[in-house]
């Protein structure tokens, strides 16, 4: 996964949400960039779960505590409230069952932090509405036939899912195409239209 500027900002937003010395589980930890950032800046007790063996091996070689596993199946093996924070960064849309995964995050962590690309962004809508094509953008670079992202949602959809699971949104941030935070005073519809990515802090 390439890390562009906007995604970097998303990691910063996540990092800002986590107090020092927290116990953190990073689900979908990739090559460990977020875990390393959290360990360096927040001295967290961090663990990771990553699907790709290459990513895991890289993480462990860098001294991170990461295991190979699938968020869809392996979260079941973690104890209730075993972590202060469970982070799911840019991975929700690639899970087979986002609802169950989100439910597990809320079970395992005192708080869950979820970031995802917003499918309600105006560029996406424009692509479908005007061009009649599945959107391929800088943040969503895959064609429909080879994308790992099988469960896209909009910010609106996600808020609904949180309600369904009885989760409270403690904090939410939307980032525009330039990675800038969208003002808190803006209404949901504005976020859903101009937010390219969203980061949610949840509790249940």
């Amino acid at each position: 996964m390439s890390v562009n500027r906007a995604q970097r900002v998303d990691l910063d937003v996540v990092t800002d949400l986590i107090p020092a010395h927290s116990r953190v589980l990073d689900v979908g930890s990739g090559d460990g960039v977020l875990l390393e950032l959290l360990q360096e800046t927040k001295q967290v007790d961090g663990r990771g779960l990553e699907l790709s063996q290459r990513g895991v091996n890289e993480c462990v070689a860098r001294g991170l505590s990461v295991i190979q596993g699938d968020a869809d199946t392996d979260l079941a093996f973690y104890a209730d409230k075993g972590f202060d924070f469970v982070v799911l960064s840019q991975t929700l849309q690639a899970t087979r069952n986002p609802k169950i995964v989100l439910d597990q995050l809320l079970r395992i962590g005192n708080r869950a932090i979820v970031s995802f690309p917003n499918f309600g962004h105006w560029r996406v809508r424009f692509s479908l509405l005007i061009k009649g094509r599945m959107p391929v953008t800088k943040d969503l670079p895959y064609s429909w036939y080879d994308t790992p992202n099988i469960h896209f949602c909009t910010i609106r959809d996600f808020v609904n899912l949180c309600e369904e699971l009885g989760a409270t949104v403690e904090k939410a941030t939307a980032l525009d195409a330039n990675g800038q935070k969208i003002g808190l005073s803006m209404p949901w519809w504005f976020w859903n239209f101009f937010g390219q990515q969203a980061v949610f802090l949840l509790k249940r």
Partner: protein, 389 residues
């Protein structure tokens, strides 16, 4: 050559070239079999220097047919230590930095008390009079050795295969004495298939008329043919079909055509015969029976009410597990079930599966990804333990 090696092996049993720690009647080894082993001895090797805080000790646990000579020339075979690729001055496990201990397991045949050792009660080798030894017994004995060095907490315990079982046992029964644990290519229990292969090996030994009901040493004999067959069968399980095919294929051994006989026409046959023959010079047949039995009996979950996670309840030890894709003796699933149990216990755990066609034996070989994982894990644990670079 072979006779010399065999003679050296015999010498190593009671009076090894390694340092030996003797435990008299006041310090018996309490065995799972319900009896006491006393007196007994442990032969060991150490490398590097124990620091003043006694916090830089690493215990290496050897596999079924390994020994304490992990990083020095083996006195019997004359070959390099079995993990010299990993352990030594300037190596990934740097003996300029760490104090490395490796001991021959109880039940072994290279200086720690085993079936070939002289039974003080009779003046003859124990043979089958030695009680059955378990993995937990081996670890109990190692703990007594670690006590002897005045080490309260080991920085790391690591090992592969049967060595990995000992690592898991250490982490389960002495968790407060293990800062980090590295079980490689192992399982929390021996599978039915693994027990089956061991049984084939044991039956081969016991079917050899030279075994004499286990008393062969009293007759000056050794069941070489049976033990060689046991080793040949076991050796296949340490490799993979892909590696065998890559190395040997259907290539013929020093001949142009099939001989229409039962000679070793194929290279793989010749290779296995060689493996079997060299093994019998350096290993005691009864020891092979005892150690395979110890592995068969190992079932960490069963020792903790059937729930593996309970074996690690409350542990503060850091774990890193490693498996290999082509290992069919201890497949990745075995490691994964340990990882799930550790997760459930809230333990700090890393898990790496390494892509290789070299099978179970990959843990003994020069595998860059294995070394990268061990290096990363040890380095970060050393920082956490306050052991500077």
């Amino acid at each position: 050559m072979a006779a010399q090696r065999a003679a050296r092996t015999k010498d190593e049993v009671d009076h090894p070239s390694s340092p030996v720690l003797q435990f008299g009647p006041d310090k018996p080894l309490k065995l799972d079999a319900g009896t006491l082993l006393s007196p007994f001895q442990i032969a060991y090797q150490t490398y590097g220097t124990l620091n003043d805080a006694r916090s830089n000790a690493i215990l290496v646990c050897h596999a079924l047919t390994g020994d304490q000579h992990v990083a020095n020339t083996n006195p019997v075979t004359g070959k390099p230590g079995w993990w010299e690729v990993l352990i030594g001055p300037g190596k990934i496990i740097d003996t300029n930095r760490f104090f490395v201990i490796c001991s021959n397991v109880v039940g072994g045949c290279l200086g720690s008390t085993g079936p070939a050792s002289t039974n003080p009660a009779t003046g003859k080798p124990y043979g089958l009079d030695l009680p059955i030894i378990t993995i937990r017994d081996m670890v109990r004995a190692q703990a007594m050795l670690v006590d002897h060095f005045g080490i309260e907490k080991l920085f790391c315990v690591l090992g592969g295969s049967m060595g990995g079982m000992q690592v898991l046992e250490w982490a389960a029964s002495h968790s407060e004495r293990v800062f980090c644990a590295l079980p490689i290519a192992t399982g929390a229990r021996h599978s039915s298939q693994n027990i089956a292969f061991h049984e084939v090996g044991r039956q081969a030994v016991m079917a050899d008329p030279e075994w004499h009901g286990g008393k062969y040493l009293d007759f000056g004999k050794r069941p070489e043919k049976g033990l060689a067959v046991a080793r040949m069968a076991a050796h296949i399980t340490y490799l993979s079909e892909a590696a065998l095919h890559r190395k040997f294929g259907r290539n013929l051994q020093d001949r142009e055509a099939l001989t229409f006989g039962f000679d070793a026409d194929f290279q793989i046959e010749s290779y296995l015969r060689h493996q079997g023959m060299t093994f019998v010079d350096r290993f005691d047949a009864n020891s092979y029976l005892y150690l395979t039995r110890a592995m068969d009996y190992f079932d960490l979950a069963a020792d903790h009410g059937g729930r593996l996670a309970d074996a690690f309840a409350g542990t503060r030890t850091r774990f890193c597990l490693v498996s290999f894709t082509s290992d069919w003796l201890f497949p990745t699933e075995e490691s994964r079930s340990i990882v799930h149990a550790l997760n459930a216990a809230g333990a700090s755990v890393s898990f790496v599966e390494i892509e290789t066609d070299r099978g179970h034996d990959a843990f003994l070989l020069d595998e860059p990804e294995l070394f990268a994982a061990i290096n990363g894990f040890i380095a970060s644990a050393a920082r956490a333990r306050g052991l500077g670079a």
